[in-house]
Amino acid sequence: MSWKDELTKQAADVQNKPAKFGEDIDISRFRQEAADISQVASIDKLPDDIAENAKSVGINPGEDNRSGTFFQVDHSVILACQKKEMEGVEVLSTTQAVNQYDWLKDYYWKAAAVDTDKYTSMTELHQNAGYFIRARSGARITMPIQACLFIGTQGLVQSVHNIIIAEEGSELHVIAGCTTHPSVSSGMHIGVSEFYVKKGATITFTMIHGWAEDVDVRPRTGAIIEEGGTFISNYICFKPVRSIQTYPTASCVGKDARVRFHTLIYGSKNSLFDTGSRVFLQAEGSRAEMTARVIAADSSRIISRGHLVGEVAETKGHLECRGLLLGNKASIYAIPEIEGKAEGCDLSHEAAVGKIQQAQLCYLMSRGLNEDEATALIVRGFLDPEIPGLPEHLKYEIKRTIEMTSEKVM
């Protein structure tokens, strides 16, 4: 049996296996077929209606300050390119990469398990592209690569498999935006993402979701970080959605590997979020920082998980969740877990859920803001993406993106 056949068999065995968390979605109620969409020559040739929504999730149609672009609409990859001068980086569709590189079998489903649940199964059995991004050994790609996964057809299920590799000593930044066409109200997105941070390499990955209100989203993410490597993952979602359940997991397998997860969520309307992150510290000197800032407004419900496991000595990790409730119908359920399995691991957690402090509101009001203005300022401040460890220009890019996203929503 070939390696691919082996995976197909494993996937087929779990076709109906519900996920451990989140509402069980009946995938069959979504359509699987979508028309082919023709490629575009460059990002500025995107149709206006697509470009407009992509912009709201951080995709820059001018490609300024970007090293390359991947753009997928439904099941069609309409653009995958890197700027000419960016020799050290490669952007392909995963389908093409698997055909092109035999060695990719050593990465395919190695950071995330194909038999996790029906959604990983679906992705293996009916995979529709996804992106492959690789920074070659020693390459420092300081400008981010942008990747957009776009649903353009009403009621479609999109399942993609992404693989991101930073080879030894390289640096790679990715801004990934996921969104829908204005005419789409419902659909489903399944995105498997596997990250491989090799020795001394760095990946920062900023994912911005902006879905239609009746879309179900089930990302499945795994990361493996080798010696001296750094993985920084930011997740941002400010728009209402039907449901999102995700629990990205990182394993620090090499000495002094570092991981940072940062989650910013503004839940509104009837949105249901079950999000979190999990880190296994498996090598001496490895470190993890996991922070979540979540706001629940209207009737939204947010479950904010975190699981930090210290498997060996001389490891350190901190898990933090701050939740802000706006209104009486919203809820936040923070579930931080820490698990020490070796003497000499140093793990801690902090969780706080509450409403806006009256003292803060009154303070701002005594400076001349009315109650709504004061609330908005605190909310925006609460979601301020002060993410340590990002280069300045990237911080600015992410901030600008968040500003654009939040202006429309809040």
Partner: protein, 268 residues
């Protein structure tokens, strides 16, 4: 012109009477000092002037001549932000920390300017000079979150920068000298004194100490106890007497039970 006029003010907090018939009139440009033992109602007075929720006025009135005419406007049921816009500004004793809200932006808000945006204003021009004026290095403090990790002195300076930005008609200084070292205190007091002179701004200072008074040149001091003003007069004379005798003897009353509290409040 009477800027602030408080007549027979009765205030309750959660049903508990705190102010019991307080009268106070402040004219434009006048500097008043309020002192008194802990629990005498000083903070309640300031919160009532500012319009904090939960401070229920059961009797009496607060009027403020903030409008275009000199006629006083009744503040009793006016929201906090409208009072701020009329020209009442406070430097809090212990301002809250607000994560994610930048010091430069709160200073701009106090001055009724929009939040800073680099695309409209490459170099920030509103908060920067004010931070400099109060002795906070703008490069270091512009982007700091309000109050987060500030020392006692930095906190006071940040508050005063907001007052300067607001150009109020009445400034309230709630223990501007608490938790500040003597050198910082002097520079803060000099800044404030100059500002009050220049702008003919009225000032209500709550304090337990006399150190800053020479710089602020108060016109009158009031001693509060039991939710009203019991004595008013020359600030320096009153301080001297209280330092000598203590509040109890000075005020000629010392009901059993509150004596300890009175002494605790008197670390002069």
């Amino acid at each position: 012109m009477n800027l602030l006029e408080i007549k027979d003010l009765h205030v309750e907090i959660e049903g508990k009477k705190v102010l019991n018939g307080l009268n106070l009139t402040i004219k434009q440009g006048e500097v008043h000092v309020i002192m008194g033992p802990n629990g005498s109602g000083k903070s309640t007075l300031t919160m009532s002037i500012l319009g904090y929720p939960g401070y229920n006025i059961t009797n009496g009135s607060i009027t403020f001549a903030g409008g275009a005419t000199s006629a006083g406007i009744e503040l009793n049921s006016m929201p906090i932000y409208e009072r701020a816009r009329l020209g009442i500004s406070i430097a809090y004793q212990t301002p809250p920390e607000i994560r994610g809200v930048k010091l430069r932006d709160i200073i701009r808000i106090a001055g009724n300017h929009p939040l800073w945006h680099p695309e409209n204003e490459p170099e920030e021009t509103i908060a920067t000079p004010l931070l400099k004026k109060v002795g906070l290095n703008p490069e270091q403090f512009r982007d700091r979150d309000v109050g987060v990790g500030f020392s006692g002195g930095e906190r006071k300076r940040a508050e005063i920068a907001q007052i300067f930005a607001a150009t109020p008609k009445l400034m309230i200084l709630d223990e501007p000298d608490a938790g500040v070292d003597i050198d910082s205190l002097k520079t803060i007091a000099i800044d404030l004194g100059e500002y009050i002179q220049e702008h003919d701004c009225a000032c209500l200072i709550i304090t337990h100490y006399r150190h800053i008074l020479p710089y602020l040149k108060p016109d009158i001091a009031h001693v509060m106890c039991g939710g009203k003003i019991l004595k008013s007069g020359n600030p320096f004379e009153i301080f001297t007497k209280i330092e000598e005798k203590g509040y109890c003897e000075y005020l000629g009353l010392c009901p059993p039970g509150i004596r300890d509290e009175v002494e605790r409040g008197m670390k002069i």
